[in-house]
């Protein structure tokens, strides 16, 4: 935005408006939402790219959060801002395991979570993650009982500073190692899906 190169006034106007909208909102704004507010002929994608560039290196950055965008303070300032604000409550170990399983295995059913953790999840755990807005129900597994499936939300991405689920730490290795595959049940029939681990 500081660039001196001439550009159509409406492009610059779009930039300023997007900047103000994003700045004013605590939550990520969907690209669609922003596009609807752009002046005639201005593609929000370009505007966002320009803003990302303009804020690069600043104390505040424009980041992608799933299908949305938000201004967030730069991660490297973490330690120096921390004491000014409340720290989110500590997550129980059960909650951490459960959110990890849902994040990496999604969509995941309760039975799968239970399977991996080896314990019946306490009622509070799922509800807490739900209350935090990190998980939501999404479709049903077409197996007997049609269990509800759970996926992570945009708020989850936002909280952990992930642009998309592909950015989950270590996702590639975990996939490659086969640890995200369904485990071969045995005792039941020898399943066709048998990942040699």
């Amino acid at each position: 935005m500081n660039e001196e190169r001439p550009e159509p006034a409406h492009r610059k106007d779009g930039c300023r408006l997007a900047e103000a909208l994003l700045f004013a909102s605590a939550e990520p704004l969907a690209e669609d939402f922003l596009q609807q507010r752009m002046p005639e002929g201005v593609a929000v994608g370009e505007v966002l790219a320009e803003l990302v560039r303009a804020y690069d290196g600043h104390g505040v950055n424009l980041v992608r959060v799933g299908a949305g965008w938000a201004f967030r303070t730069a991660p490297d300032l973490a330690g120096r801002l921390r004491r000014e604000v409340d720290v989110p409550r500590r997550l129980s170990r059960a909650a951490v395991e459960t959110i990890a399983i849902i994040a990496y295995h999604q969509p995941a059913t309760r039975a799968e979570i239970e399977e991996i953790r080896g314990v019946v999840p306490g009622r509070g755990t799922m509800d807490m993650l739900f209350e935090l807005g990190w998980i939501r129900p999404h479709g049903r597994r077409e197996t007997p009982g049609r269990p509800l499936q759970w996926v992570t939300t945009e708020a989850f991405l936002d909280h952990f500073g992930l642009a998309s689920l592909d950015d989950l730490p270590g996702l590639e290795e975990l996939r490659a190692s086969g640890l995200l595959d369904p485990v071969p049940e045995f005792g039941s029939d020898p399943e066709p899906e048998d990942n040699g681990g």
Partner: protein, 253 residues
């Protein structure tokens, strides 16, 4: 990872702080052996684990252990009992392999969870705009209500309603009395053996309805047999149930 077990000579001193549940104990046991799981005795592992469960005062706080405990007991039984002819033979090695995979899977998720927690988190390391009132209505509809609000509202309303009154729509079920009437009608005019399942009226719906039809027919047939109105026979356990009329009812009435 927090709170692993104390490394004691007794071998099974778990620190209850970090202790969460069955697979964790197994993980500890497995790590403690410091050998590849495949090479240690699954049976021994199962024994140690079950012994731990039996001894642990921590057990009382959970029905949680059921999943893993049941699985392990089953595992142990597979090793101890002669194999069922129909089942694929499973070697101890294969079991160890499956167990190892399970443990690795949980461990992977524990580590993944930790890596998530170590990311710069919103509200702790990274911050959103603090001052949002000035243009509060930009994305305001997001704040109207969450899905959780909605579900809670519904759940609580339904709970209260269930406490207050419960009205159940009449399901299409077959009563024993109707079934008895039906059996009398058919068996009164026929003396051959009939299979019980033949008696299910045509047009009976599936699911609960047909199950209720069969159950009531069976109950009715027992009742009629008790009264001497019909005879029942069954060749072998779980075999076909057949019945025929004795003609006694006409005499009585």
């Amino acid at each position: 990872m927090n709170g692993g077990p104390e490394r004691g000579d007794e071998g099974l001193l778990l620190s209850l702080d970090g202790y969460q549940g069955p697979i964790d104990v197994l993980l500890d046991l497995a790590r403690r052996q410091e050998v590849d799981l495949v090479r240690i005795s699954v049976l021994q592992l199962a024994d140690q684990y079950l012994a731990f469960l039996a001894a642990s005062p921590d057990l009382q706080r959970s029905a949680d252990y059921l999943v893993m405990a049941a699985w392990l007991v089953w595992l142990k039984s597979r090793l101890l009992l002669p194999e069922d002819e129909e089942d694929e033979p499973v070697s101890a090695e294969e079991m160890a392999e499956v167990l190892r995979l399970r443990l690795r899977r949980l461990e992977a998720m524990q580590q993944a969870g930790q890596r998530l927690l170590d990311l710069p988190r919103l509200g702790r390391d990274r911050f959103a705009r603090g001052m949002t009132d000035e243009v509060a209505d930009i994305a305001r509809t997001r704040h109207l209500a969450t899905l959780r609000d909605l579900l809670r509202a519904y759940a609580n309303r339904r709970m209260r309603q269930q406490d207050a009154s419960l009205s159940i729509a009449p399901p299409r079920l077959h009563s024993v009395r109707d079934s008895a009437t039906l059996l009398r009608r058919i068996l009164g005019v026929s003396t051959r053996w009939h299979r019980l399942f033949e008696m299910v009226p045509a047009g009976t719906g599936g699911g609960l309805e047909i199950r209720s039809a069969i159950a009531s027919l069976f109950a009715a047939s027992l009742q009629l047999a008790g009264d001497g109105e019909v005879e029942l026979r069954q060749d072998r356990p779980f075999g076909e149930i057949e019945l025929r009329g004795t003609g006694r009812r006409e005499e009585e009435t």
